[in-house]
Amino acid sequence: MSAPGLELRGVSLRAGDFAVREVSLAVPAGEYFILMGHTGAGKTLVLKAICGLQEVDSGEVLIAGRDVTDLDPCERGIGYVPQESGLFPHLDVGGNVGFALDLAGLGPEEAASRVEAVAREVGIGPLLGRRIRGLSGGERQKVALARALAREPRLMLLDEPVSALDERSRGEICALLERVHSERGLTIVHICHNRAEAEALGDRVGVMNAGRLESIEERSPAK
């Protein structure tokens, strides 16, 4: 039996007065897992702990069976789409998508063709030379998604990638996420607030409350 794409074993951590307690979770490889909860429930903290951006007090984080708890964020091989896209304003769209591909061992030509391929896949080919400042919210999220995909991670973490978008862009990005997930067979952990969005996208939905993972619901038969 293959190792889960992501596993949390009794993860506890503190950020100021707030604590996340004993979160245990196994996300099978290729699953689309939704993490829901009210604002301040601790979802983003858990995501940051998986990325390595938040220190874990106790417990273990395993990615594809490898214990990464003490690894630096840059060594975990994760694709990450933060809230509000987190695009680098000093780079153009192409620069963002190809950011740090040299660190993944790609030469300039290989990196350029990877950027073009991912841009086509996500539908931002014509935007590659554009500055970030002029992009719409939906375009920004697509660029952020392309940037995360360009490094070909096995695990993608999405922190409310559509919550700030209008309804049309939201539907477009959700459809794109669904397609990317099924075509690439990625393990995805996606934080969201919207129940309909969670049920449309997720194989399972975990609900957090006051720093605890309270329940995990199986996928709706409609999906």
Partner: protein, 289 residues
């Protein structure tokens, strides 16, 4: 009652444009008036220098001893050479220090901030006296002897650079710190997850995003460095091999060459003007104007 015509409506609309500032409001009169007075005051000082020189005509230049002209040329070269060396040292140190103050949390951080800002509020001559005390009597004495053996005497260009550095570096540190604080930390976090080490994140994200503020701080620090006077009078004096523009200006004034002093003052005003224009051009507000 006369019905309102289309023309009346459009007039009313033009009078009540929301958000448009009224030029006769008390706030605009007080603040704008003071601003105008201040600009006029600076303008009057510059105009006074220019008109003084114009009133003297060009005859005084021909009457000058060639020694004085050589001295001024030397001072100009020395000022540029020492201030640019100081600028390099400032950029090499102020950027990492500014980053540390913007991003690191450590005990005694506010005290360190105060120490770093101290040269901004200290009278510059205090820096000179402290330098003299350090290299003359304190723990710096062995260091001075070591420097002497390398022909880097505190009374030479080395002393000029040290004085300029200590007076000016805080301006750049402050500017760099503010620039780094303006970089969204979440962008640095994204870069870390994307595979960049802390070091690479600094070079690829933090520094490019903060570079406007850093360059503006560097230019301000350079302008401050080239104008340093008090510490130089204490540390290096007015020997012929250590003259820079401010000390030459004072020397010429004290020997009755007012025209030369004013001419040097105008050159320094020009340099300061160029520096400030660059700073305003680099600042986001300036770019928007």
């Amino acid at each position: 009652m006369k019905p309102a015509t289309k023309r009346d409506d459009s007039r009313t609309a033009s009078r009540r444009r929301p958000g448009r500032r009224r030029w006769n409001s008390p706030l605009v009169v007080v603040c704008g008036g003071l601003l105008s007075l201040f600009v006029m005051m600076i303008g009057c000082l510059v105009a006074a220098d220019v008109s003084y020189l114009l009133s003297k005509g060009t005859g005084w230049i021909h009457d000058l001893d060639s020694r004085v002209i050589d001295q001024v040329k030397f001072a100009l070269r020395m000022s540029l050479a020492t201030s640019l060396t100081t600028l390099v040292l400032i950029m090499l140190t102020a950027v990492p220090i500014g980053y540390a103050l913007a991003r690191f949390r450590f005990p005694g951080r506010s005290l360190v901030n105060t120490v770093v800002d101290a040269p901004i509020v200290l009278p510059p001559v205090v820096v000179g006296i402290s330098l003299l005390a350090f290299f003359g009597y304190g723990a710096g004495k062995p260091l001075r002897m070591a420097l002497d053996s390398l022909e880097l005497s505190i009374g030479s260009a080395f002393g000029i650079v040290m004085s300029q550095y200590l007076v000016a570096v805080s301006y750049c540190i402050r500017s760099a710190k503010t620039a780094f604080q303006g970089v969204d930390p979440s962008l640095e976090q994204v870069a870390r997850v994307m595979g960049c080490s802390e070091w690479r994140t600094f070079w690829r994200v933090s520094l490019p995003l903060a570079h406007h503020g850093i360059v503006a701080g560097g230019v301000m620090a350079w302008a401050r460095a080239i104008g340093v006077f008090g510490p130089l009078m204490v540390v290096v004096g007015t020997g012929p091999r250590v003259l820079v523009m401010p000390t030459t200006m004072w020397l010429e004034l004290s020997t009755g060459h007012m025209e030369v002093a004013v001419a040097i003052a105008l050159i320094m005003l020009g340099l300061a003007g160029v520096a400030l224009t660059v700073v305003h051009w680099l600042s986001p507000e300036g770019a928007a104007v």
